[in-house]
């Protein structure tokens, strides 16, 4: 029996959904945690099988937005809308799907007992299911629908905690409306000028990615929501995914240029903001925003005149996406573990937590430095590629990217020193890392260091994805070229 004949992708989406229904009925937080762990673990296995099947060639490459399946393929059993498949995997998503599943598994695993009663495992599973579906769906409208639906769990989380929701709701409603309007216009459903459609999509991406001046919803979500939920909502960088799928193939050059400019400004501005924060959550939120903007800079390079800069910069941006998702998730989990012990953390005085929990200190530093592209970590080569591409396109952009990484590096070490050094935190209770937390952060550390020492597989995978994106964009730009995605963006499987 061919193992890959099983519908792993569909299973990875359905298992968390079924898990949510099951866990929602469990009242005991410890039991809910165990069940959640089992379901997220099963989804992770399925997601890994998807990636393995794709890279071994057993699962065919899909094309976003176009029919792709031939009869007799094992995936023929998958769900379809109007005869078109809903879920599929391509070079871009083959890595992102297991990454997403891993992040959910690790968040579930590292949830401390003290937080279990307040943390909703059912919502985590629902969110995982929707996110996996949106990252693997092939139909633009279904994807837009899923991106709209995935905004709902954080809203309920805020309501449940009695926190203000207006900032979040305002931004998300605006995002969904602009996205739907923009794509309707691109699809030809609404007769509006092309530039207006492009502008609408551009604004939607700015909002979802948290570029200035639409970034306050991210800091607000981190301040008011559960850290774990906020982390899972932002760390896959869904705004970038939306940009790659919906905007990059159709966007005129001016959109990419503006996107690049706004992203550069946001990257350096939010890096500076992270550096002066007095609250650990806000520090993390700004650090994330800065990195998300750097990834967008990489996407913008797809519109550069220099062909080398296009490929190198886009490859760097896509690789940085993976590095940032892993490293900032690790950093977020470390902060969350500290919060579970001490409550909200301020960055106004030295806390001296190192002696209490050296493992968390090391993980904080490792993941934080990985996010800023420190040598030997996963982010290093990604950052190098991004800077190289940016310098090739525009030397000013390269300087800004380097400046951003510099400020972020200073911010990470500042937060480390304030949290872990400068004193000796005295307590009668052990604040050391738990076994589950150690497993979670060691897994991330292994991926960060392992990927840093052997970066070629990641870079090759992202390079293939970048070439597919550029080929698709070029095919659409050709007069008389196909309107839908072409076969040009399939088969990049080295």
């Amino acid at each position: 029996m061919n193992l890959y004949a099983l519908p792993w992708l569909e299973l990875s989406v359905l298992i968390p959904l079924a898990g949510a229904l099951w866990v929602g009925r469990v009242r005991d937080p410890n039991a809910a945690s165990r069940f959640c762990l089992a379901f997220t673990g099963a989804a992770l296995v399925c997601a890994i099988m998807v990636a393995a099947g794709y890279w071994t060639g057993a699962i065919p490459s899909a094309t976003f937005g176009a029919p792709w399946l031939s009869k007799g393929e094992p995936w023929d059993l998958g769900p379809r809308i109007f005869g078109r498949p809903v879920l599929g995997v391509d070079e871009l998503s083959a890595l992102l799907i297991p990454l997403l599943a891993l992040l959910h598994f690790l968040v579930a695993l590292a949830t401390a007992r003290t937080k279990m009663a307040r943390f909703s495992f059912a919502w985590l599973l629902i969110g995982e299911s929707i996110r996996l579906a949106s990252f693997s769906c092939l139909d633009p409208w279904v994807m837009i629908g899923l991106l709209a639906v995935v905004t709902i769990p954080p809203y309920f989380e805020l309501v449940r905690r009695g926190r203000p929701t207006r900032v979040y709701v305002l931004h998300m409603v605006l995002f969904v409306v602009l996205l739907m309007f923009g794509w309707s216009a691109v699809d030809g459903n609404i007769p509006v000028p092309k530039h207006l459609a492009a502008f609408s999509l551009f604004a939607a991406i700015l909002i979802r990615s948290g570029t200035i001046p639409f970034h306050v919803w991210v800091t607000d979500l981190f301040e008011c929501g559960a850290f774990g939920s906020a982390l899972l909502y932002v760390s896959p960088v869904a705004g970038v995914y939306t940009a790659v799928r919906l905007v990059l193939p159709v966007a005129p050059d001016w959109v990419l240029q503006w996107l690049g400019l706004v992203s550069l400004v946001t990257a350096v501005y939010t890096a500076g903001m992270a550096l002066v924060q007095r609250d650990a959550r806000r520090f993390f939120a700004y650090l994330f925003l800065s990195h998300a903007s750097l990834i967008l800079v990489g996407l913008e390079l797809a519109g550069a005149e220099n062909k080398d800069a296009q490929v190198i910069g886009l490859t760097g941006g896509l690789a940085l996406w993976v590095a940032v998702a892993l490293s900032l998730s690790g950093l977020g989990l470390t902060l969350r573990a500290l919060e579970a012990r001490l409550g909200r953390l301020s960055l106004t005085e030295y806390k001296g937590l190192y002696e209490q929990s050296p493992a968390l200190a090391v993980c904080f530093l490792l993941t934080g430095l990985a996010s800023v592209g420190f040598p030997g970590t996963l982010g290093y080569v990604a950052s190098e590629l991004l800077v190289d591409g940016a310098v090739g396109a525009n030397q000013f952009a390269g300087v800004v990217v380097v400046l951003t990484a510099t400020i972020n590096g200073i911010g990470v070490v500042r937060a480390y020193l304030l949290l872990f050094t400068g004193g000796r935190y005295a307590t009668a209770v052990s604040l050391g890392i738990t076994g589950r937390e150690r497993f979670a952060v060691l897994t991330l550390a292994a991926l960060i260091i392992g990927g840093g020492l052997i970066p070629q597989p990641l870079v090759m995978s992202r390079h293939a994805a970048a070439e597919a994106i550029l080929a698709d964009r070029a095919a659409r730009a050709t007069p008389g070229g196909p309107q839908g995605h072409t076969e040009a963006n399939t088969g990049h499987r080295e």
Partner: protein, 486 residues
Amino acid sequence: MPDIDQLMTFFAAIVVTAPVALVAILGGSSLLGYKLTEEAISRASQLAIGVGLVACVLILGMMLASDQRHVVLDLGNWVEFRTPDSGHGHGHYHFAVKFEFDRLSVPFAILSFVFCGTIGAFAARYMHREPGFNRFFVLYSVFLAGMITASLADTIETLFTGWEFVGLSSALLIAFFQDRPAPCRNGFRVWVVYRVSDAALLLAAILLHHMTGEGDFDKLLGTGPWPEGRASVTEEQAVLVGLLLLFAAAGKSALVPFSGWLPRAMEGPTPSSAVFYGALSVHLGAFLLLRLSPLIAVSLWLAVAVIALGLVTALYAYVVGAVQTDIKSALSFASLAQVGIIVAEIGAGHWIPFLWYVALVHLLGHASMRTLQFVRAPSLLQDYRAIENAIGGQLPRPPGLLRWAPVRVRAWLYRFALERGYLDAILSDYVARPFVAVFRWSDRNERWWTTFLTGTPGSGSEVPPAGPAPSAAPAASPYPKVELPG
């Protein structure tokens, strides 16, 4: 029977691998929560450094015997992919990991091994039963790996990797005594300077990559062994890249205007002060300039800038060092004065290339002498005390060079020196403070904006801690404004 080339490649691999293996052993065990004994840590350090040193000396011997002056250890392309056809066929992006053994790198690598080995043995006793013994040696191993990587690098990206390891381990070692805020504050300050100078090095690396198509030194500086290479860039390119490299070297070697961090680095344990800031780390900037000396050969203006910076730093360090009242600070400024002269010698190599050899020998000799002085410093104080007790008064001091200067000039110079040339104050007041003020102002506006959007006061303001406040961060309260320099 392997020929001499194969043997040299084999030993070169050992030289590069030994420090990395030490990091893996010490760092890996810490990460996994396995606590090594002091003896095991000490033995692992001695073994790794001993093996690396012997291999390096063997390479030196074989190079002398075979008259080879340039041995390359090519570990292949770390990252590699094809770029689009731009009219001249497909391009090829690669990120090579290469190490070179030549007249410059081998002495510096041997120096690093010798000093790290000596100081490692010293530290094993000096740090005995210190709570952070393991942490010290982990950082020490990272430092060693960084030094060896940087000194042997044959591509600028490899050099940058080592450079970053040296910077991180140095900053964390300065903050080693982390139950007090002052070392952490100083460590952070050093990290800021390093980080900014690292940005300059990274930009230089990327620019070189663009100019020559790759970051390999032999493509940039010619294939001739150091210092005979000829840079394959124009004068304008040499000035641009050279100034960035000079900036990076200034940060790492504490040249003006970044000299303020050097005495702050003395907060760390004496062994690390001795080997890092007295001997190795402080010379790394000069080493970088030596490595890229063919760029200086190309441009007169770059050479003038290097000489000027070196001389200004030497003068500054002499004046400031004259008024230091603690021995480690006095030694650090004395060290800086020599580094300034070494940098000036490197710049002068534009006219007389032989001066690059002089600079290298100066560097090696100075590093050795200064390490000895640093290590001897604590016992020297004891000796002084004993002598002064015996003679019943202070030891006579010879009058300084400025004894004939007018009193007002001496007073001004004294104040200038006491304030360390106001360099720290200038950087704090005119760089750090405005930066913080602008972003704090933005932060207040953003909070106001969030509150406005929410419509209810409370959101957008800082959320009070939900859990118990840190009950005993003993030294926290006196230092509420420690986040940034100044």
